[in-house]
Amino acid sequence: MSLSKKISQKQLLFGLAIVLGSLTILYFLTRAYIVAEAKESLYHTNFRIEQQLVQQKEVTSLFPLFEIHQVEHLHPDTLKDTIIFDVLQNENELFKELNVYKTINTKNYHIITRTLMVEYDDTLLTILITFGVIIILVYLTQFIYNKNLNRTIWTPFFKNIETLKAFSIRSEQAIQLEASDISEFSELNIEIEALTSKLSTDYHNLKQFTENLSHEVQTPLAIIQAKIENLIDGSKDLEQDHLKTLYDIQDNTKRLSKLNKSLILLTRIDNQQFHDVEAISVNTIIEELLENLKDIWNHKKLEINFSSRSETRILMDRSLADILFSNLIGNAIKYTNANGNITIATTSDSFKISNNGDNKITGSDQLFHRFYKENRQSKSLGLGLAIVKKICDYYNFELTYTYSNNIHEFEIQF
């Protein structure tokens, strides 16, 4: 729920409660007051009548307002409500009635005084309604005013939320937030600016560090390789197993170098350093690759079927295209057992490669993660598919892997 709505909702409910509450209290208080006033008025009239009687003056009854009767016996005084037909209103009305029994000048009198409650009730009603209307009006005006106030006060805040959404750590520019004279918002702005600035700096530093590290690594590797090669070259002076060791070192240096190059590639793609796009003919790349690797797959006696329904052209960086298809096709060649079968099919917007394999890949949800190797003993780096995935993500190609009927299949939708 939005801020505005929530505040409004709470305010309205609260307002409702206040209105109802105050009306109720007002009703009871006013009523009590009115009743007290009515009673007092009755006693007052009663007293006046008593005074008249004490002075031996004649008092005539005026029904229904007051009646004076002489009676035999005294009874306790009562105060009660009665309903009497009122000629003036021409209907039954509620009266409050005071019955007083008193001995005055040795005579027993029963004095009845009454007052019409409806006037009082009308007054009560008018008071309540007036009050109700006023309080509701006041409340509504407050509410509307608050709503507008909220809107203006919070607008910079909402704008800043949008700015934050659009912000990227990678951008070179600092975040631009809308200023506000409200101290809390100002404070928030300052903290956000500091935080994003630090994040950006950290990110750029890390990026730079990774790039520098990779480049630094290449030089010692180059030196190691060169020295080993010179050593091997002077091998008439070397013992046989020393020679073997040197070859092993060379192998591992090659691995390190490949690892380093792959990591550099991954970071480069992350940093979006591949801006060039050309129209790439996928079929040509595949054909060249197959031709280049012909000896290898022939040696394994693999059968490779390549079919394309139409010319497939995609827009991307050429070197990335080479790497993408080279990794997928190379993997297929590497991981298909001898005498196996590889099928490659392209359509105008997709590329599919499948090979037969007896074992389902157990970690298929991790397949595209860096360094994931299905066979942990394998000498492979585990980066090939991670690179494929990254390239696909970069160009918004959809990459899927499925395994069914003993066939591994990778498909790319361009």
Binding site: H215, T219, Q225, Y247, K254, K261, L293, I296, H299
Partner: protein, 224 residues
């Protein structure tokens, strides 16, 4: 041949010198940008190996100057950068070839030879080794006057061997020369053995003996 090596990593520079000197090349070195500019300007070299990422300048600027002054050296750029843009920039500026570190010295040797051939400095298209004659332009091989048919890879292999004759070449180096990054598709390098055997079969009986196996999976092409 006279070769200038412009590289600020001294150890690497010296390793290259050691390797190339074995073939009888005269090697001179420059360890920074100013020395590199100075020497390449003052003297004439057949081949200049140029490192792009020098500490005090870019090798590309030396390249530009060389081209502006119409110097006739063959230029090979070596760089720690494997980015395509740098590669294209270097080649656009007129470099003859481009190698990224780390590289095999045997590979460097091949490239130097190729550049020399293209520039026609001792650069015949024909390379002879005893009775074997290789024509690099037409990519044909003649042994004792008889044409022999080699596959593309077999031709590359033979050329690589002869260019690096008397050098020990490990299977790994050979695989990398022939298949580049794809060399790791081979489960093991026994495949290389098969390849080399095929080549041996196609050469004469005497020729096959040139390809010697050294212990620990290496090969040497030699007639000694």
């Amino acid at each position: 041949m006279k070769i200038l090596i412009v590289e600020d990593k001294i150890e690497l520079q010296q390793s290259i010198v050691t390797y190339l000197q074995k073939d009888g090349h005269i090697c001179e070195t420059a360890s920074n940008f100013s020395e590199g500019s100075y020497k390449s300007d003052l003297y004439a070299y057949d081949i200049i190996l140029l490192d792009i990422n020098l500490l005090d300048g870019s090798g590309l600027d030396i390249l530009k100057t060389l081209k502006e002054e119409h110097k006739h050296s063959g230029i090979i750029i070596i760089s720690a950068n494997s980015s395509l843009e740098d590669k294209l920039k270097g080649l656009d500026l007129g470099a003859d070839d481009y190698l990224t570190k780390p590289f095999h010295l045997a590979e460097l040797n091949s490239r130097i030879r190729a550049v020399l051939r293209r520039g026609h400095y001792e650069g015949n298209d024909i390379i002879n080794f005893n009775e074997i004659s290789i024509n690099t332009t037409s990519r044909t091989v003649v042994v004792n006057g008889v044409d022999i048919v080699l596959t593309r890879k077999e031709f590359d292999l033979l050329l690589f061997f002869i260019t690096n004759k008397n050098r020990v070449l490990s299977k790994e180096i050979i695989a990398e020369h022939l298949w580049g990054d794809h060399s790791d598709l081979l489960d093991n390098f026994d495949f290389i053995y098969v390849h080399i055997n095929n080549l041996r079969k196609k050469l004469t009986h005497k020729g096959a003996k040139y390809i010697q196996t050294t212990y620990g999976s290496g090969y040497k092409f030699t007639d000694t």
